[in-house]
Symmetry: C2
Subunit: 137 residues, 2 copies
DNA sequence: CGGGATCCTATTAGATACTG
DNA sequence: CAGTATCTAATAGGATCCCG
């Protein structure tokens, strides 16, 4: 709790403003939630699910490169966390639809921002990275 | 910002619903950028760097649980991508400061949203997860 | 103080094959 | 169609030692 203030003192009086970064007590569940949502596929699936319900196969098509295994796994976790909803229709052939739950819809806005940012700055980042590699890391 | 809408328009007739999710062409670098930024520590480091420059040791203290290795690695990558800036002062004892670069500052706003969301819905997510576990997954 | 190099383990992710 | 199961390769991550 005093960690931040002490850091401020160390960095010098001029450095740090009124808004301390993150209270140490919150770090833990921030990390947990970030881990859950920040994995390789979750955000992508949430992004893809925004326009409306999708079936398993559709998801697989719209998230290129994802394996069946990871799709199943991620869907199950997102479902358990209440971010998406799974609806199975008892018909033949079987049909299962995944929908963004309210919780996931809230997250979606942020995901959109993040994806927008990624799209906007992708070139810049790549340029930076290549320059760094050229400059001799 | 408009990237997403433009993307939707580009996808056009080929897609299913009214508002197509993400054009397949963009999926790739979105994934790349998301991977870079969505790893275990990057977002946290960016969040912690927002108030002002921090030294290596300060970072290590403010991001609990991070190892020297991961801190070094993540800092280097963020630096190469141009999200943060490393400044070394040639003095004894040596002092090195890490600062959010403009690019990283832009990302920071999104990170803040994400952290805010995580803080707001952490309890809900945990409840959902436990209920799912109890219900027999 | 600010790391780099190395070793080793745990977790993750992909491919493949199979099922209701 | 919508998954599960299993096996394996790759990677992430932690611990430790060491150096400028």
């Amino acid at each position: 709790m005093e960690t931040v203030e002490r850091a401020a003192a160390t960095a010098g009086a001029a450095a740090i403003g009124p808004c301390a970064a993150i209270p140490a007590e919150h770090m833990d569940f921030i990390r947990q939630t970030l881990d859950r949502v920040g994995d390789k596929w979750s955000l992508l699936i949430i992004a893809v699910l925004e326009p409306g319900p999708l079936r398993y196969t559709d998801l697989q098509r719209q998230v290129p490169g994802i394996s069946q295994r990871m799709l199943s796994l991620t869907l199950r976790q997102l479902g358990q966390d209440g971010l998406i909803t799974r609806t199975a229709y008892a018909e033949v052939p079987p049909r299962v639809e995944y929908t963004l739950a309210p919780l996931g819809r809230g997250l979606h806005e942020i995901v959109t921002s993040l994806i927008g940012w990624a799209a906007d700055h992708h070139d810049e980042i790549r340029a930076n990275r290549e320059r760094a590699a050229t400059t001799g890391s």
